[in-house]
């Protein structure tokens, strides 16, 4: 709301600049009064949302930063400890390990869903238009509307040792590789990643498909006249023209990976050992089970800085190239 007002005032200034001496003082006053009023109305429109934003985002954010400098159990007295909580994070091996796991999750929650999403969306766009395409889109998007807790429980059953996935493996003669996927140190993270792919790929496909419909069909036509293969079209046209959409997909999925909590909490709760433990799980356990609110806040602040540090380059790259 504030941006248009600002643009208008810039134009006014330009106009004033172009016609020096033609405007008297009263018109100047009239203009600035109008601008002021519009600015005020703009702010009034923004106010309710702004209040909510301040109350539920900025205040908790600032409080979290504040708490991170204290030793506090959530109820008793708060004791100032300076940067000690941040130092503790680097001293406790389990806490640093969670950050490593979070980056591993980026591969499963972000790179694979976006990569696969691009390929699947491109295939749907090329071969499955009409009803088939709509059905495929709906089916692939469905995981987005299923509550994650329910999905996590069902995936837990599927991936259990007596579960369906192992039954299928046994039926096709691969009984030797069956394992309790969510309870195996080597496989737990990829298994959680699989759930992440299932959840996030539909979102990427729908977003990328929308982007593809905006690409001028003439580009594809001319490419086909020139004898370009599907792969050549994909690399030369689809991917470069979808940079902005890919940027959005990456942003959303990278945040989902680094700040992961729900999928992991309902499928493994961070186990086995700390194989799938991520900062989100540790923040929860520290704050609400261990009641170390200060330490949990410090980890939360670090996680936020980490997310911002990763997201800003993605945003910058996708916008820069999209323009």
């Amino acid at each position: 709301m504030t941006t248009p007002t600002k643009v208008e005032s810039d134009i006014d200034v330009e106009r004033l600049g172009n016609r020096p001496g033609h405007l008297d003082v009263s018109r100047r006053a009239h203009f600035s009064k109008r601008v002021r009023r519009e600015t005020l109305v703009g702010w009034l429109f923004v106010l309710p949302a702004l209040l909510m934003y301040v109350l539920f985002v900025l205040v908790p954010l600032l409080l979290t930063i504040l708490y991170s400098f204290f030793h506090w159990n959530g109820v008793g007295p708060m004791i100032w400890v300076g940067l000690k909580n941040y130092v503790t994070i680097f001293q406790v091996p389990n806490l640093l390990g969670t950050i490593k796991n979070a980056f591993w999750l980026v591969v499963w929650f972000s790179i694979i869903p976006v990569g696969l999403g691009l390929i699947v969306a491109s295939i749907i766009h090329r071969v499955a238009t009409g009803r088939l395409g709509a059905t495929a889109r709906t089916v692939l998007f469905l995981p987005q509307v299923i509550p994650l807790v329910a999905a996590g429980i069902i995936w837990g059953w599927l991936l259990a040792l007596p579960g369906l996935i192992n039954q299928i493996l046994r039926a096709v003669g691969l009984g030797a590789i069956t394992t309790a996927w969510l309870g195996d140190f080597d496989w737990a993270l990829p298994a959680v990643g699989l759930i992440g792919i299932w959840v996030l790929m539909g979102f990427c496909i729908v977003l990328l498909l929308t982007g593809m419909t905006k690409v001028d069909p003439a580009l594809y036509e001319s490419a086909r006249i020139d004898g370009a293969s599907w792969f050549r079209e994909f690399i030369a046209i689809t991917v470069p023209l979808l940079r902005y959409e890919v940027g959005v997909c990456l942003t959303v999925t990278v945040i989902a990976a680094l700040a992961a909590f729900d999928i992991i909490w309902v499928s493994t709760a961070g186990g086995p050992g700390n194989a799938t433990s991520v900062p989100g799980i540790q923040i929860y356990v520290l704050a609400f089970t261990q009641r170390a609110v200060g330490l949990a806040s410090a980890l939360a602040v670090m996680l936020m800085v980490l997310v911002v540090a990763v997201i800003i380059p993605i945003q910058w790259l996708s916008r820069e190239r999209a323009l």
Binding site: N73, N94, F185, R291
Partner: protein
């Protein structure tokens, strides 16, 4: 009768002192300021049957309608059944019961206790930090008034917190609705298959049975281990600790006594023994992914000759495998030694600012002393209702495993070998210490010595926090 009279007199004295002190002193302990109601003591004779008016002596629910504000744990019917029966006997008392999962209670209890409408009665997931923050009612006054302090000793100790935050002695902050007992349940049919005619008397005999089960192609032990439920191997590990060494140091560690450590030579032997069981394949290969409920149902379906669990599961086992489940205490390492067991109260407390503390305390007393309440406790809860020595002990249904767990209780009590749970030492030692480290041991990523060192390090970190 003599005790009751003495209690009434001391109560009257206490109250008159408080009334006198009211004008000048404001630093009285919470228990004293929450002086139990005494009006009824002089109005009704002690022998009045508890039909309309509550019991006559000591704190009670008064004669006006009372709505008790309670928070119970989801999934366990016992407090709800006791509450219903209480209202039947005392129609003036009704309930406003909210319930939540145990894991959620851990996170919400501090807020509930510190909030505007603190519960009169609530399931306490942990208590030390709440007690230190002054959020829990000091129950010592009630203990004197009702004579709880005369009950057999171990019952109240686990609910006592000293000024320095150590548990096991000090001020009473909670009461047990019942007292659970843990040990080893076994599938009678499968046990017969491996030639078990009577429960093992030593650890070596138990080892032989496990080896026989493995050789027979059976699953020797069913146990859970998913981080979602918390690692069930803490049960056999603690039982092994008590088999190899005395229970005193284990309780000291759980109660956070200064200088206590879990990393002792006898505990190392226990952890090494557990490691051997893991390596021998006595636990399910997918244990790290098995949740508590899955383990219970797989055991009732015949997967597992033995399982380490507590008597709260009695009703489930009786229903799932009627007549086919037995129970014995973990045998000692040496012949002639006394068995030990983890035993813990089903802990309930009263908020420091509760509106109907007297009525809630009266409920605690009623649960332990009323015959109907005790019967509900045994038949539905499956656990010992505790209470005064010589109180009526209800008989469980014939063929129920509850008969075996009830019989085992006094054996542990007589030996003085009762322990709290190593998972309860701090609020997150289970989630941050035992569970991940035991899971690593299953995965071959941690050995016995490393397990104890890692848990001790986490314990010390949490105590500093």
């Amino acid at each position: 009768m003599k005790k009751i009279t003495l209690a009434s007199i001391s109560l009257l004295l206490l109250c008159s002192i408080i009334l006198g002190a009211c004008a000048t002193a404001t630093t009285t302990a919470p228990a004293a300021t929450q002086a139990p109601t005494t009006a009824a003591a002089t109005e009704a004779p002690p022998s009045t049957a508890p039909t309309e008016a509550p019991a006559a002596t000591g704190p009670n629910c008064g004669t006006d309608p009372v709505v008790l504000n309670a928070y119970f744990e989801t999934g366990f019917t016992i407090p709800f059944d006791l509450a219903d029966e209480f209202t039947k006997q005392f129609p003036k008392v009704t309930w406003d019961i909210k319930q939540d999962q145990f894991a959620n209670l851990i996170t919400t209890t501090p807020l509930l206790l510190a909030g505007d409408n603190p519960p009169d009665l609530l399931r306490l997931p942990t208590m030390v930090s709440f007690a230190k923050d002054g959020l829990l009612m000091d129950l010592d006054g009630y203990a004197v008034a009702f004579g709880w302090d005369k009950w057999p000793v171990p019952q109240l100790n686990q609910n006592r917190v000293a000024a320095d935050g150590t548990r096991g002695s000090g001020t009473l902050y909670a009461m047990g609705l019942n007292y659970s007992l843990t040990g080893i349940f076994y599938n009678k049919e499968l046990a017969a298959q491996i030639g078990m005619t009577e429960p093992p008397k030593t650890l070596a005999e138990f080892d032989d049975l496990l080896a026989a089960a493995k050789a027979a192609g059976l699953q020797p032990i069913m146990e859970w281990g998913s981080a979602k439920s918390g690692m069930g191997l803490a049960f056999p590990l603690q039982n092994l600790m008590a088999a190899y060494g005395p229970v005193g140091p284990i309780n000291d560690w759980i109660f956070q006594k200064p200088g206590a450590t879990i990393d002792t030579p006898s505990n190392l032997l226990a952890a090494q023994h557990l490691e051997r069981w893991i390596q021998a394949g006595y636990f399910p290969p997918d244990i790290n992914a098995i949740e508590y409920t899955d383990a219970a149902s797989r055991f009732t379906q015949g997967e597992g000759v033995f399982t380490f669990n507590g008597d709260w599961q009695n009703a489930g086992y009786d229903a799932g495998m009627p007549g086919n489940v037995g129970f014995f205490l973990m045998p000692p390492a040496d012949a002639g030694g006394a068995p030990a067991a983890m035993s813990a109260p089903l802990t309930y407390g009263i908020a420091a600012n509760a509106k109907h503390a007297d009525c809630a305390a009266f409920f605690f007393d009623w649960v332990a002393t009323n015959d109907v309440a005790r019967t509900i406790n045994v038949n539905i809860g499956g656990s010992n209702p505790g209470g005064p020595a010589g109180a009526m002990m209800p008989a469980a249904a014939a063929g129920s495993v509850t008969n075996e767990t009830l019989a085992a209780g006094p054996v542990v009590g007589a030996a003085g070998n009762s322990m709290d749970f190593i998972a309860n030492a701090t609020s997150s030692i289970f989630a941050q210490g035992w569970t991940p480290e035991l899971q690593k041991m299953v995965g071959g990523q941690q050995d016995a010595a490393g397990l104890l060192q890692a848990v001790q390090a986490e314990y010390e970190r949490e105590l500093v926090q």
